[in-house]
Symmetry: C2
DNA sequence: ATAAAAACAGACATCAACATGTGATTAGTG
DNA sequence: CACTAATCACATGTTGATGTCTGTTTTTAT
């Protein structure tokens, strides 16, 4: 569903979201904290910087921080430049060209699933992921299914 | 969402579902019909045969056909041996190990999406995809969004 | 001010998995 | 027996996911 790179990006952004105003944190620290390969994370953060999601400061005491307030950064913003989710919406395998499977039927089902997915990415901001230790109302099944994207 | 191989598989299976009892159709015909690379399709069909979804007949007039009635073959059956969807459910990146993002929050959202997706694959059978030209009630937006998985 | 250290930035390099193509081989059907 | 079609083995291109090394700034301490 989500690639590893996408997860790294989300995790890194969430961490950056907890920083105080004007504070920076370096790649090695982020990498260790979220359990991502430092080298790879470097490239990823650069990409996020190019995408305008984070800004960087060189030199000692420098590093990365969010370019905009955490509330205004949606998960889709992060994932899009990495995974090109929009391709699912814009173009792709056109079922209607395939007389074997009923196009409308399939499109209808797929569309609902995909739309839900994209909508989730759109409606969730980085700030939403930072619940800052607030005890979340326990989901009944939390022990059975910690799975993954 | 779905890999190309998975799509090829679903399309091929749907085509096979339209065959008459005891009829076989060969790889080249299937490939041409669904627009898939013949060579690759060959391998794929073998895999599906190993998975017990299709049976093959060698020699002239041979080919592939469904091993079970189309009603009893769910999309998940087809996709699973190819894409290992079950991995999403069984194991994977455990958000609870990552204190940066609230685990329950994420799990909850992801779980819902993933469950919906898997459920769709489970509740749709090959037979469902064969509407045999029956005019499907036109979805209002069918012209705007023929997209894809 | 100048040197040293701490970071970002970017160019290669590798490994696995997906997606395909080619050719030889073998097994049935007609 | 000849033809056809599955089966199998090997080869290639691409993309995702990483690692390594080499700059090149910029800050900080002397």
């Amino acid at each position: 569903m989500l690639t590893k790179t996408g997860l790294h990006a989300i995790r890194a952004m969430t961490l950056l979201g907890r920083l105080a105003e004007g504070e920076y944190v370096g790649t090695p620290v982020i990498a260790k904290s979220i359990g991502a390969p430092p080298n790879y994370l470097g490239k990823l953060l650069q990409a996020l910087a190019r995408a305008g999601l984070v800004t960087s400061q060189k030199g000692a005491g420098g590093g990365f921080r969010l370019a905009r307030p955490a509330e205004s950064i949606r998960l889709l913003d992060i994932v899009e430049p990495i995974e090109h989710v929009s391709r699912w919406t814009n173009r792709g395998t056109d079922w209607s060209q395939c007389p074997e499977a009923d196009p409308l039927f399939m499109n209808d089902r797929w569309n609902r699933i995909r739309d839900d997915y994209v909508h989730m990415l759109q409606s969730t901001s980085v700030a939403d992921l930072i619940t800052e230790g607030e005890p979340v109302p326990a989901a009944a099944n939390s022990s059975e299914r910690y799975t993954m994207p």
